[in-house]
Amino acid sequence: MGRLSGPLHDVAQDAGYEQPPPRMGFFTDTSVCIGCKACEVACKEWNEVPEDGYLLTGMSYDNTQALSASTWRHVAFVEKADGPALTDLGMPGVGLPGAATAGTVHEDQETASGDSAVRWLMSSDVCKHCTHAACLDVCPTGSLFRTEFGTVVVQPDICNGCGYCIPACPYGVIGKREDDGRAFKCTLCYDRLKEGQKPACAQACPTESIQFGELDVLRERADARLAELHAQGVEVAQLYGRDPEDGVGGDGAFFLLLDEPEVYGLPPDPVVTTRDLGSMWRHVGAAAAVLVGVGIASFAGKRG
């Protein structure tokens, strides 16, 4: 058993690979995402993931809603009406999306790199391939395993559908397919990686929002990109999941975001649940011991 939390230099080695290849991952730069969803479609095509329902959600252009057993890439669309104070034209407010700016015109319309009246943020989400992956840790069958590339993959022939991995994931990534009973998620295209190919989603992305490569290299590239954006005055830009010191020991798939993580549906400060495993077992043990004590004590008195 490897380490349960904290920074980890080599996940694959920790998982028992002798001389693993470099850890591979994703850097998703949402500042250049155009929300084309090519990644979603390419992932489904390559991995033969079934269609996930035809529902117009009203959540901007997001009709996929979330990552799930049948959606391994999910492009979020956040419409935000904010930016500089708007001129109030005395229009009554109304409880609809967009009410905030109703009736205001003549305002600056700068976007992305500056203040704006409307911002439309897009971000392609995916399994984080955590350094300390709760899903993998809690899987009782060993169906979830760490690959030599440091990624986290489900083996569908072993999964018995116990569902444990699902609430264990601090990002709400992995899901169970109702008709099939088993859990599924992004494999980081393990089959393609073994052939030396890029994952399908990264291959399809037209803007290099999804960058695939050696995690160390990606982290450097991300730092440089962040510095560049900060230099351009995009103060809101932040890296998410890049820090090996964070609650999951850093993500194998990390992001550059243009707003707070929760705005995109990401947890602000995730922690791998097994970080507290020692404490859990100690308390379970103590409680069991107390129960034994209560049992003994119960018989200590008289019979009646």
Binding site: V32, I34, G35, E45, L56, N63, T111, V118
Partner: protein
């Protein structure tokens, strides 16, 4: 085009990120390199989201906005003067007879209210002081009233070069002459002030200033700005002039023919560029050679006369045309029989798609092929399309899917309303399954005129066949049936050079077709259009493609990755003409042949070698020195001067003012769309006077400024779907991403009409009413024009009755009013919006009729 080298990119009339995501990577690349990206669009789209600046604009008002920019440049002397003087017709002096919109309240001189056409004679250049013999002859022609532009198809008949000019004209290089183009331009655009822009487009002066400053700061010697547009400009009754306005602006700023500059027309379907080059259009032949006109062109000589011998590369038109005829009729085409010129059909009038549909309704057109399109959903005024198809004898549909155009007779909207009854439709419909692009090999020509060859990946399933096989086979069968005919009428078919090698599955060899297109001569495949001869010794299917099969090699199949090549990446695919990546690139050097700047160095004159050299194939006569002045009697390419970069133009100059060839005026003027909620703020003339309308009861037009139809709607695409939907609504992975038709509205409009996010709305025009889900969003803004607001309704147009996700077609709402140059419809119109679903069945017809009555729309159609 090389967008990545641009310092500023203005995207207007296109939602590039959504409709051209792969090409958009170069915009993102430019942005990474520091370029400013601006998006001018009625809606805040996925393109706006990553742009530096989004400017909302009222649909259909782009000429006012661009005209404002032109005015800004001219009135503040911000043009790239050296470039303008040397390379444009700014210095040309226009005849005294010319009168502008300023003088004629919104019309130009030459307007004939009877025919609703312009006679462009008064727009001509003042003849030069010293005239050549040719000039004299041409002047006589003009004075005799000999038509210089073709009635039926106007500018399109002369493709990229426009109509030939009779003479080069007199110039005043100081630009001071009151009748020189520069001064005319200044006067014409003077009324396009920031205030007027605000009143017309709903763009505040502060926003306008930002765009103007960005463009000016990123133009000149050291920097370049690129424009991108698509159908947000083309689909208007003033579409061609919108594009012309941008061309004027880009030319004034010196951004044409230079790296990171230009105007990029983002073409639509895969190879829609290819289907213009080798056209599916009625009025041109391959390589933009005009189709002969019945009244004018009764011989080969008459046909080529307009262009032949004129300055520039169109001067060699006889070689191109004769080679084309040789490609069609092979050995049968001889000098004696005018190379079978008489076998070519002649045009008698407008036979564009909408004219044909009207003819179907009127009973003139009896049979129709629908191949790779779905007009029941994709063409404006869907009802008109379906009524037309229901009135045919036969209809052939070749498609990948059972599209609405093949099933309208049993489940179209008119069946629901009772306007059509299946049993009463006499059309015999043949549906033939087609092979997809991965099931056949061939070339695609994309936006940058690049041909890329594609190999067959899988065999087509079942009875699916490629277009090539279908047409070769159809030709064979017709020829078999006619084999014994001695009727003169059948000779053109029987004598066709129709011998294509086929493989074991019966599929003709696509590369043999490409070779025919490339052209062949006595030594095999030709390597350039300069090899083509007027004497019948060469054959060529499309002169601008000559070279794609040079050295007997399929050049379109080259796939050397760009990271193994230089900036221009000349070894990926093949670009017409002559594998040249940037057209008119002589303009990337100053008049003396030196680069304008080190930073924007591209093609320049090397005095040592006595040649033009650089990164790209120079778009010029290779050894023509910058100081060369052609002899007065020189013809064709020989007549190109050393400082005439626009080698397809007879005068070698970029036309700020079009002395002929444009149907609706030598300069752009803002007119309102045929349906508009406002009065034209610029001129007393409301809509484009030259617009083409179809007068038929199924095409009624909403009156402008009607309170019954107070809102503007505009239509567009979503990344997740493809045009009329046959290729996306049928696929689960795409359908789930946008599973239902919707309309996008501003919060203010939602409040005004009580529309609820996620619920239904009914959108009504004089044609019909459709329903869609409501998305209330800040991305649609209420625009303030003076003292009123204009609300715009956004409508993706991908839906129809078939497929995994179904819904009403936005096109059932759209009217047919066309641009007079290219006969393309408006994509915008006016409407009313009401909460809830539309009436069903016959009640819908009555509902819409009520609206028409309230708005005072005459029952017989167009006003």
């Amino acid at each position: 085009m090389d967008l990545q080298n641009a310092d500023c990119i203005l995207i207007e009339g296109s939602n590039m990120a959504e409709a051209h995501p792969v090409g958009f990577q170069w915009v993102m690349e430019a942005k990474k390199r520091g370029a400013t990206v601006i998006h001018v669009d009625p809606r805040f789209t996925r393109t706006s989201a990553v742009a530096d600046l989004h400017v909302p604009i009222r649909a259909g008002s782009d000429i006012a906005f661009l005209g404002g920019l032109v005015n800004h440049v001219l009135s503040n002397d911000l043009d790239f003067r050296e470039y303008v003087v040397a390379y444009t017709n700014a210095a040309n002096i226009i005849t005294e007879d010319f009168a502008d919109t300023e003088d004629l309240e919104g019309l130009f001189s030459g307007w004939d209210p009877e025919t609703k056409r312009y006679d462009p004679v008064s727009w001509h250049y003042e003849p030069p002081a010293r005239m050549s013999d040719d000039d004299v002859a041409n002047i006589e022609d003009v004075q005799d009233g000999e038509p210089v532009s073709h009635e039926a198809a106007q500018s399109d008949t002369h493709g990229s070069g426009g109509s030939p000019l009779p003479w080069k004209g007199r110039r005043d290089e100081t630009l001071q002459h009151p009748r020189c183009v520069f001064q005319i331009l200044k006067r014409h655009f003077a009324r396009y002030t920031p205030h007027m822009v605000e009143e017309t487009c709903g763009i505040p002066a502060s926003e306008f200033a930002k765009v103007a400053d960005a463009l000016v700061a990123n133009s000149g010697r050291e920097r370049t700005t690129a424009f991108c547009y698509a159908v947000g400009w083309t689909h208007h009754s003033t579409g061609a002039q919108m594009i012309r306005t941008s061309a004027i602006l880009q030319t004034l700023l010196g951004n044409i023919g230079r790296p990171g500059g230009g105007i990029l027309a983002l073409r639509g379907h895969a190879s829609i560029q290819g289907s213009t080059d080798i056209p599916t259009l009625f009025n041109i032949l391959p390589g933009y050679i005009p189709m002969p006109l019945a009244p004018l062109h009764q011989s080969l000589d008459a046909w080529v006369e307009d262009d032949e011998g004129k300055a520039g590369f169109w001067g060699n038109i006889r070689s191109y045309s004769v080679s084309l005829l040789k490609a069609y009729w092979g050995d049968a085409a001889t000098a004696e029989n005018d190379f079978c010129f008489d076998y070519l059909p002649r045009l008698t009038g407008d036979h564009s798609t909408y004219a044909t549909v009207k003819s179907m309704i009127d009973g003139g057109c009896k049979g129709y092929f629908i191949v790779g399109e779905n007009p029941a959903v994709g063409s404006a005024n869907g009802k008109m399309q379906r009524l037309g198809m229901a009135n045919l004898d036969w209809l052939v549909v070749r498609d990948l899917q059972m599209i609405e155009s093949a099933t309208f007779w049993k489940d179209g909207p008119e069946i629901e309303t009772g306007e059509l009854v299946t049993e009463e439709i006499g059309t015999e419909v043949f549906f033939l399954p087609a092979a997809t692009h991965v099931e056949k090999s061939g070339s695609f020509t994309q936006t940058q005129r690049m041909l890329q060859w594609r190999d067959k990946a899988v065999e087509p399933p079942g009875d699916c066949r490629s277009e090539l096989q279908f047409y070769v086979d159809l030709g064979n069968r017709i020829r078999e049936k006619l084999a014994d005919s001695t009727d003169e009428m059948d000779a053109p078919v029987l004598e066709l050079a129709w011998d294509y090698p086929v493989d074991e599955t019966g599929e003709p060899d696509g590369e043999s077709v490409l070779r025919e297109v490339n052209g062949t001569g006595p030594d095999g495949a030709v390597s350039s259009y300069l090899d083509l001869k007027p004497d019948g010794s060469t054959a060529c299917g499309c002169w601008i493609y000559a070279g794609v099969y040079a050295d007997e090699v399929n050049q379109a199949r080259r796939r050397k990755p760009h990271w193994e090549q230089d900036q221009v990446a000349a070894e990926w695919g093949w670009v017409w003409p002559a594998n040249r990546r940037i057209l008119y690139n002589r303009a990337s050097a100053a008049p003396d042949g030196t680069p304008w700047s080190e930073r924007k160095k591209y093609v320049w004159w090397d005095p040592e070698q006595g040649r033009w050299v650089g990164k790209d194939v120079p778009d010029f006569v290779p050894d023509r020195a910058p100081d060369h002045t052609p002899a007065p009697d020189a013809h064709g390419p020989d007549a190109i001067g050393g400082q005439d970069p626009f080698v397809m133009q007879t005068d070698g100059k970029a036309w700020l003012f079009a002395p002929l060839g444009v149907a609706d005026g030598p300069l752009p003027a803002h007119y309102e769309p045929a349906e508009s909620p406002v009065a034209n703020p610029l001129y007393p003339v409301q809509s484009n006077p030259g617009r083409r309308s179809l007068k038929t009861p199924s095409n009624p037009i909403n009156p402008s400024r009607s309170e019954v139809f107070p809102y503007v709607f505009t239509t567009y695409r979503l990344t997740e779907h493809h045009t009329a939907g046959g290729m996306s609504r049928t696929l689960p992975y795409l359908t789930e991403l946008q599973p239902e038709p919707f309309c996008e509205v501003s919060p203010r409009l939602a409040r005004e009409r009580g529309l609820v996010h996620g619920e239904w709305a009914t959108i009504i025009s004089a044609r019909t009413a459709i329903e869609a889900r409501v998305l209330v969003t800040d991305r649609l803004r209420s625009l303030r024009l003076g003292d009123r607001f204009v609300e715009q309704v956004g409508l993706p147009y991908h839906w129809g009755g078939n497929g995994l996700s179904t819904g009403d077609s936005a096109n059932d709402l759209v009217n047919v009013t066309m641009d007079p140059n290219v006969f393309i419809q408006d994509k915008v119109g006016t409407c009313d919006v009401q909460p809830g679903r539309r009436p069903r069945g016959p009640a819908l017809v009555e509902y819409v009729a009520q609206y028409r009555r309230r708005a005072g729309v005459p029952e017989e159609g167009d006003l």
